[in-house]
């Protein structure tokens, strides 16, 4: 089984996450990553507009923990939810953190705001950036290894 197949054979899917759970998650997300003068809050940028489904399609293993987190603490205020999860259900707590941060930092809007252009192909400049004077000084300092 390839990793992609492993992703697809889980029985729970993103579609099984109820709307109430999504709403709760957005509220919790805003506490974890609130808006700043330059950055949006996570409830808007990372988890809105169907982006939660992108996250959960990539990581369906997190769905069970997410739904459990909501089912057990969804009645509480967001801060209390997080406190309660941290103390009573660390796997669910960490799943919520990963979903929130994962959603936020895979959002194209957030990446653009951060100026992050990772995982993009770029043409290699072969050895163009090595200062040969510095390198020669390493050579001039002489051999470093022990004869053996």
């Amino acid at each position: 089984m390839t990793p992609s197949q492993a992703r697809e054979t889980t029985s729970t899917t993103a579609a099984d996450v109820p709307g109430e759970c999504r709403d709760w998650l957005r509220r919790v997300a805003d506490r974890l990553i609130p808006a700043s003068p330059t950055m949006p809050a996570a409830g808007d940028a990372g988890l809105g507009d169907g982006h939660l489904d992108v996250v959960l399609r990539a990581r369906p293993d997190l769905i069970r923990d997410l739904v459990r987190a909501w089912a057990s603490t969804g009645e509480l205020a967001p801060d209390e939810s997080l406190d309660e999860l941290r103390q009573s259900d660390p796997p669910a707590y960490h799943a919520v953190l990963l979903i929130v941060a994962g959603g936020y930092y895979t959002s194209p809007t957030v990446r653009a705001l951060l100026g992050y252009a990772g995982q993009q192909p770029r043409t290699l400049q072969i050895a163009g950036d090595i200062d040969m004077d510095l390198l020669m000084r390493v050579v001039e300092r002489g051999p470093r290894y022990r004869q053996a």
């Binding site: 951060l114 072969i126 000084r137 390493v138």
Partner: protein, 534 residues
């Protein structure tokens, strides 16, 4: 029933090299590999969710991946979690491609430092094989490194060292310390039909360009074209033996649960330093109650993993530290050799590595803590693109208490008993890492870091699995001879990282593959004297 001259178990780094050399010499070879052919189109590098997938499906840990082709490992009693990959190419599919060699002193630690054991060979014996494997894998680097004896230059020029590499090179120039562009098994230019690196920075989740060398690209296609039969989805449970004490083949299971036997004149184990002792121990029988090839009692013992520390410097300006190949931009061997005034023996090599993307900054797996709430954005801003990490690979001295055994309860998806690892970081290693952390901190401050964070021992760093079937000349104190042949079973060979006598303080795969080539060529050259089952 399938039959062959040679059966290879495991299609990873060493298995690929052995298959290539045997196929070239005209042997009829069959290889059993529990994993599948990797599909480069499936690698996550260019997906937006790359960093999320890297934490699960593309993790280096079989326990995290939980893929049925992996076997689980009980590491509850280990300070370090073992990492590996199952498939054609083996753990090279996920490795970073950092490609240093052992140094001459590494082969002589008993003579020089009075600890552990000398190898039954020297650097000079292995040097020609290093040079040939460099060519076969396509290694990029700069010749003339004064950390090593003279020899052939790497076949390709060095990869870019980037803003961060240049910054640290200047710092080490100021300190008068060694630095050098790192030798990497990653192409800096087109080579033998393969495309060069495009600096995705995603090497540890599979290289979509095929620029990073792994045997599925460099060795297996030619071996298969020459007639080697490579069976994927074929998991070996045990090696079968004749009454006369020779290996006759192996029993294996397919994903559909069907069991099969393959017979061969010679059996080569290339299943890595956890998988190989597991198979030898699982092959126990009333005639071999302690497992196979184990008259020394050393099968599974002396596991070495290179305890790893990480020291991260924070810089005001953007050093583009999410960019480029992941293995190492530059290396430092300044403190590699023993200086007894330091309170420990041996040393470590440093690799300067990028620190990853935004999710890594938010949920750091290396130095640093996650921060939530109002301070979150400032935390990510400080980390992303503004950090440089020295990875410190410390020499791990062999200890018989550090070992691979067969777990009493845990099994893989085929019901075969799974391995258990017992491993504790030694006092020498702890002192060694603490000394190197202090020096790396000095290095980063000299480069202008305004803050430094340390991970004194990274648990998920069991990349380098070594030593569990060591080589030597004395059958009482070693499992295999200097060419990987079992002292007890003359047609059984071990060619993977299990054969290491000591670990050195460098990434091991260039040495694993050079040794595999040397051992295989010796097997080929001595074919007329090879004892085989009737």
């Amino acid at each position: 029933m399938e039959q062959a001259d040679v059966l290879i178990i495991g299609a990873g780094a060493s298995g690929g090299v052995a298959a290539g050399a045997l196929a070239q010499a005209g042997f009829d070879v069959i290889c059993l590999e529990q994993g599948n052919w990797p599909d480069r189109a499936d690698y996550p590098a260019q997906r937006g969710t790359y960093e999320l997938e890297a934490r699960k499906q593309w993790s280096g840990s079989p326990s995290v991946r939980q893929n049925p082709v992996d076997y689980p490992i009980n590491d509850a009693d280990s300070d370090v979690a073992p990492l590996m990959y199952a498939g054609v190419g083996g753990s090279m599919i996920l490795y970073a491609g950092d490609w240093p060699r052992l140094l001459p002193s590494d082969f002589r630690v008993r003579s020089l430092d009075g600890v552990a054991d000398d190898w039954p060979l020297r650097y000079a014996d292995l040097q020609p094989f290093y040079e040939r494997t460099d060519v076969a894998f396509g290694v990029s680097g700069a010749g003339g490194d004064p950390a090593y004896p003279e020899g052939a230059e790497p076949p390709l020029p060095p990869l870019p060292i980037g803003t961060m590499g240049a910054r640290m090179a200047h710092a080490h120039d100021k300190l008068g310390w060694h630095w050098w562009p790192a030798a990497q098994a990653v192409l800096s230019a087109p080579y033998q039909g393969r495309r060069p690196c495009v600096q995705f920075g995603a090497c540890m989740q599979g290289c979509p360009e095929g620029a990073k060398a792994s045997t599925d690209l460099t060795h297996w296609p030619a071996a298969v074209a020459k007639g080697v039969r490579l069976l994927t989805g074929a998991r070996v449970a045990r090696i079968l033996m004749s009454r006369g004490g020779l290996a006759t083949g192996a029993e294996f299971v397919r994903p559909d649960g069907s069991w099969h036997v393959v017979r061969a004149d010679v059996v080569i184990l290339a299943a890595n330093a956890v998988g190989t002792p597991r198979i030898l121990l699982n092959s126990a029988s009333p005639r071999h109650p302690d497992g196979l090839a184990n008259s020394s009692g050393l099968v599974g013992r002396r596991l070495m993993v290179h305890p790893f520390a990480n020291v991260t410097g924070y810089f005001e300006d953007d050093v583009e530290s999410w960019r480029g190949h992941v293995g190492a931009k530059i290396t430092c061997f300044e403190f590699y050799e023993t200086d007894t005034d330091r309170g420990f023996v041996r040393g470590a090599k440093w690799s300067l590595a990028p620190t990853g993307g935004p999710l890594n900054a938010a949920l750091p797996t290396r130095a640093g803590d996650a921060v939530w709430g109002a301070a979150h954005h400032e935390h990510v801003r400080r980390h992303l693109g503004h950090t440089i990490s020295w990875g410190i690979f410390g020499e791990d001295l062999p200890d018989e208490a550090n070992r691979v055994t067969v777990d009493a309860a845990l099994t893989d998806s085929s019901g075969i008993p799974a391995p258990k690892i017992t491993y504790a970081v030694s006092e020498n290693s702890r002192r060694l890492l603490d000394f190197h952390i202090a020096r790396a901190t000095e290095s980063l401050h000299t480069a202008g870091a305004y803050d430094v964070a340390t991970e004194a021992l990274m648990r998920s760093s069991g990349w380098h699995l070594l030593g569990t079937a060591r080589m030597g000349t004395d059958p009482r104190t070693s499992v295999v001879d200097p060419y990987g042949r079992s002292h007890d079973i003359p047609n059984l060979y071990v060619m993977d990282g299990s054969v290491f006598v000591t670990s050195g303080g460098v990434n091991p795969t260039s040495t694993i593959t050079a040794l595999a080539l040397r051992s295989t060529e010796h097997l080929i050259a001595s074919r007329r004297d090879q004892r085989i089952p009737a």
